[in-house]
């Protein structure tokens, strides 16, 4: 079976304020159902790599292959669609739209993708909320939730389009250890039960130890 995500010789430079070679010949593979964490010191390029893998950052050289398809040269609008079909995101910060209800926040990416009608999407969104044990908060404004709850809603949002990969940029970075454990358990469960691959950038050693594989980075190289 082909890997879900693959890169070949990705290089990236920052030019501002001075030219700086952030990523050097990055080649990696992410298998289906695999739970991988990326670790490394601050500034080693791990987040930069994640945003390239997420297709949000298109300013690089090399090849990015998602689910067997080379997406390195797609237009921004096409990438937006590919992204919402294949990749779910969880960030360190929750990025919920504060004026909308929890349910609406989860539904928006699916509404935009437009694969299902409004009713089905609502049903799906409620299902995702249930997986995360948040179904009672569905009609609350997102701004009224606690930090841990917000992060769980953000995960539910990442799941709404049934992506093949969940990417996380320090999803537990802002949470206490209890909530961090809950988030890890949820991700683990999703990976096992919904056949999703996980690619999580983290600083948290305890978190990383529990994953299937750790990619360690230093100075723009993958060292292990």
């Amino acid at each position: 079976m082909k890997p879900i995500l693959e890169t070949k010789d990705i290089n990236k430079y920052f030019t501002d304020p001075v030219e700086f070679h952030v990523l050097k010949d990055i080649s990696l593979k992410l298998e289906r159902k695999e739970f991988v964490s990326i670790m490394g010191k601050s500034g080693c390029g791990k987040s930069t790599l994640l945003y390239i893998l997420s297709t949000m950052d298109t300013n690089y050289t090399g090849e990015l292959i998602i689910d067997g398809k080379n997406v390195s040269h797609e237009s921004k609008d096409n990438l937006a669609r590919i992204r919402s079909e294949n990749i779910g995101f969880v960030f360190q910060f929750h990025y919920l739209l504060p004026e909308f209800t929890v349910l609406k926040n989860i539904m928006l990416p699916a509404l935009k993708l437009g694969k299902f009608d409004h009713k089905t999407i609502k049903k799906n969104a409620l299902e995702k909320l249930e997986i995360l044990g948040m179904q009672e908060q569905a009609d609350k404004k997102a701004s009224r939730l606690s930090g841990g709850q917000k992060q769980r809603v953000a995960i539910a949002r990442a799941l709404i389009n049934n992506p093949k990969i969940i990417m996380g940029d320090e999803p537990t970075g802002n949470l206490d250890s209890k909530n961090a454990n809950i988030v890890f358990d949820i991700l683990r469960e999703l990976s096992n039960e919904l056949d999703m691959s996980m690619l999580i950038v983290t600083h948290d050693k305890d978190f990383a130890k529990k994953t299937d594989r750790i990619i360690e980075m230093e100075d723009g190289y993958i060292i292990s």
Binding site: M56, D77, R83, F89, Y95, P98, E99
Partner: protein
């Protein structure tokens, strides 16, 4: 749910969660639009009033007999001017009557012309108004009063009495208000007049005429056409002027040239007679447009500022929308929709406020000696101002929204997310 309706939904939610800012931005537009409508309605109302003062009552073409010296002297046709040098000293105009030759046929020809709305004859005689030992000199015009009323709003200038008194009584007169005041006469009184050859007539005052211009009101009175001819001791074909009203005022210049070419008369068009009025009203209109457009532009900057702030506040939302599959165009549309919602709300309110204020102005009493028929401030309710207002509001809010929206379109979500 289609793409646009999601975007619409997001725009709406954003705006309604910021009711105060939305209101302030919309009120900016409201203020601009309502001021535009008030200014234009009031200004053009005033213009129409002033134009009406002169233009409505001024015939589009006046036909009369000129008493200029003839351009080709008889000597020139007898001794060929090309081979001879003829000198005639001290040329004087020939004594000619002020009447128009063949006035009645010309009048009936004019009435048949398709461009002509109507044509009325006038017979003008110079008279003295007599009151005791006082003699006031003045002019009496004989008119066809029903036609004058129809074509030149003659009725508006009769401040007392009734114009039909000219028809009811053969010797009825509509006396100039200045004369009436000086001779302390009022409706129902008799007045003696002397014609140039010294014959006196007794006229019965059926009404008071006030044009609003003192120099006219002090000398001018009106009688029936027949009466004027009788004062002059002339027959019913004695007509000194023909006033023509055309269907389209713009035809006045070519039409007056045509008349001069066909008939042996002089013709003066309204542009020649009232050149300064045209200039005055067009400049006033220009000024009101300039002021109103400035107001709307200021409102546009208000929207621009508020949307710009919105976008800074909504950086995170923009980033996450883009990260979860919304394109740059979608994000741009969200903000353009917001601008247009503000524009439509503000414009609708502005039309209401503008109309309301116009109605109020229209009911404020305004009495002026010069304008006897005007009781309140003049307001012009031309729907064109309302349409222009809406269009301008939508265009300016669109532009004010477009610039910030384009910025939102270009925002790089990675930069925002990583910047946290």
């Amino acid at each position: 749910m289609s793409n646009l309706s999601i975007i619409w939904d997001i725009s709406k939610t954003h705006l309604f969660s910021k009711k105060k800012q939305t209101m302030v931005a919309a009120l900016g537009v409201t203020f601009g639009i309502s001021m535009f409508i008030i200014m234009m309605s009031f200004m053009t109302g005033l213009n129409q009033l002033l134009d009406g003062l002169v233009l409505n009552r001024t015939p589009h073409v006046q036909i009369y007999n000129n008493t200029d010296p003839t351009e080709t002297q008889p000597t020139d046709s007898y001794f060929n001017a090309a081979t001879n040098l003829n000198y005639i000293h001290s040329i004087k105009p020939k004594s000619r009557l002020e009447r128009i030759h063949n006035a009645l046929p010309i009048l009936s020809e004019l009435k048949k012309n398709k461009k002509v709305n109507g044509a009325t004859p006038q017979t003008i005689c110079k008279v003295f108004y007599i009151a005791g030992s006082n003699n006031l000199n003045g002019i009496i015009s004989g008119i066809d009063v029903t036609q004058e009323a129809r074509l030149f709003n003659f009725k508006d200038y009769i401040v007392e009495g009734d114009i039909n008194s000219l028809i009811k009584k053969k010797n009825g007169v509509l006396l100039g208000s200045g004369i009436a005041e000086k001779l302390s006469l009022s409706v129902g009184d008799k007045i003696q007049i002397l014609n140039p050859s010294g014959t006196s007539f007794s006229l019965s005052i059926g009404g008071i005429y006030q044009s609003g211009m003192a120099e006219i009101d002090d000398i001018q009175s009106y009688v029936n056409l027949k009466m004027a001819q009788q004062i002059l001791g002339a027959g019913s074909n004695y007509i000194s002027r023909i006033h023509v009203k055309l269907n389209d005022m713009e035809d006045a210049v070519p039409f007056s040239k045509l008349i001069e070419n066909i008939y042996d008369v002089s013709a003066m068009d309204i542009k020649e007679a009232n050149a300064q009025f045209d200039t005055g009203s067009s400049i006033r209109t220009l000024i009101s447009y300039a002021v109103s457009i400035t107001l709307l532009i200021v409102a546009g900057f208000g929207i621009y500022n508020i949307l710009n702030m919105f976008i800074y506040e909504k950086m995170n939302d923009i980033a996450i929308l883009k990260a979860t599959g919304f394109t740059g165009r979608d994000v741009m549309l969200i903000f353009i929709f917001q601008a247009l919602i503000i524009g439509v709300l503000g414009a609708a309110l502005g039309l209401g406020v503008g109309y309301g204020a116009s109605v109020i102005i229209d009911n404020i009493p305004f009495n002026s000696e010069a304008l006897p028929t005007v009781k309140t401030y003049p307001v012009n309710y031309d729907p064109l101002f309302y349409i222009t207002g809406i269009i301008f509001a939508l265009v300016s809010t669109f532009l004010a929204g477009y610039l910030p929206a384009r910025k939102a379109k270009k925002l790089d979500p990675v930069e925002i997310i990583r910047g946290q």
